[in-house]
Symmetry: C2
Subunit: 86 residues, 2 copies
């Protein structure tokens, strides 16, 4: 692994970890009032785009980061639909 | 611009745009209670890492996306420090 991928992996760990407390908080409180479904969906599609980009650029750190974040974003969309007021 | 950068730019627009309503909402409401300073700082350093990675990989779409998101993350840190309860 070269030093560029080293920087990528540090960035990957920081940005994916920063996202996890939101997922945990939403799961625990079931409070999805401040989450916007169109915004979550836009973010999800964007992350899928970055994942495809990472695969095409053969970037291990981008594939690693965006695979985790795709799951996080998917969970938030799932919580939003499951827990929203009917 | 090749098609890989095309996918990158679509991803860049989606993920940076999804982040802007949070910045606007925080600026308008001055409610920073649900924002965590350590988490914001970790996210900010991570995005700086992705920006450096994008420069080293000579990726125009990563440089574009992460420059905008660095500014967004910086503004959230600034609001958090400015508007937190004393």
């Amino acid at each position: 692994m070269n030093y560029i991928e080293g920087i990528g992996f540090i960035a990957a760990v920081l940005t994916t970890t920063a996202f996890l407390p939101q997922v945990y908080k939403t799961w625990r409180t079931k409070d999805v009032s401040s989450l916007s479904l169109p915004m979550l969906f836009m973010f999800f599609v964007g992350i899928v785009g970055w994942l495809i980009y990472g695969v095409l650029k053969q970037s291990p750190s981008m594939i690693f980061a965006n695979t985790i974040t795709v799951v996080s974003a998917f969970l938030l969309i799932y919580f939003k639909i499951k827990y929203r007021k009917r």
